[in-house]
Symmetry: C2
Subunit: 113 residues, 2 copies
């Protein structure tokens, strides 16, 4: 039986998302860490509490909001968990190479960053 009032998330049409919004979302270290963790092993779906972020639950929730609103991740609820994954295909189509840049940067990041 479907849940009564379970959370549903709205996801923008990526064609409606400006590049600046995606860049703004990916300019924050915490959000980049989220995306990289999701993209490990080719891409997977993870729940909010499966990240090693050392931040409050409110902050993490906030960051997932921003990534969702920028069209970078897709989120669905399963029981009391919310599961998110990167919208790889659509993202690549809308912003070719952006995700690759972000993933490549992990290896290239200067020590002081």
């Amino acid at each position: 039986m479907p849940p009564k009032t379970s959370r549903t998330y709205t996801h923008p049409d990526l064609n409606e998302v400006p590049l600046a919004a995606a860049m703004q979302a990916l300019a924050d270290p915490s959000r980049v860490a989220i995306v990289r963790t999701l993209m490990a092993d080719g891409g997977r779906e993870l729940a909010c509490n499966e990240f090693d972020l050392c931040q409050s639950k409110a902050t993490i929730s906030h960051h997932f909001d921003i990534l969702r609103e920028a069209g970078i991740i897709h989120t669905r609820t399963e029981g009391r968990r919310c599961l998110s994954k990167v919208r790889q295909g659509e993202l690549e189509k809308r912003f070719p190479g952006l995700l690759k840049l972000v993933l490549a940067e992990e290896a290239a990041t200067p020590a002081k960053a």
Copy 2:
């Protein structure tokens, strides 16, 4: 005879610039407009007052600072003008595809952006 104390600008080694800094710099509409104007006709060098930005001189100076510090543009003085151009080659090498994304976005920008 070389000028006494003419402005000289320092430019970061692009290998020292994190992707997040470049993205942050390019997430602002004014700075993106600057980059696009510089890149029109394949790339050119322009002075600060050759942009149609409708902002105060202090604000424009501020935006050029950020682009320079993010390693996106190179600036030199010529008389009382400062001339800037996009560091295309180095930028493409360090962040492959980033500039292309920014330039492609102009055509693709949703009406409401």
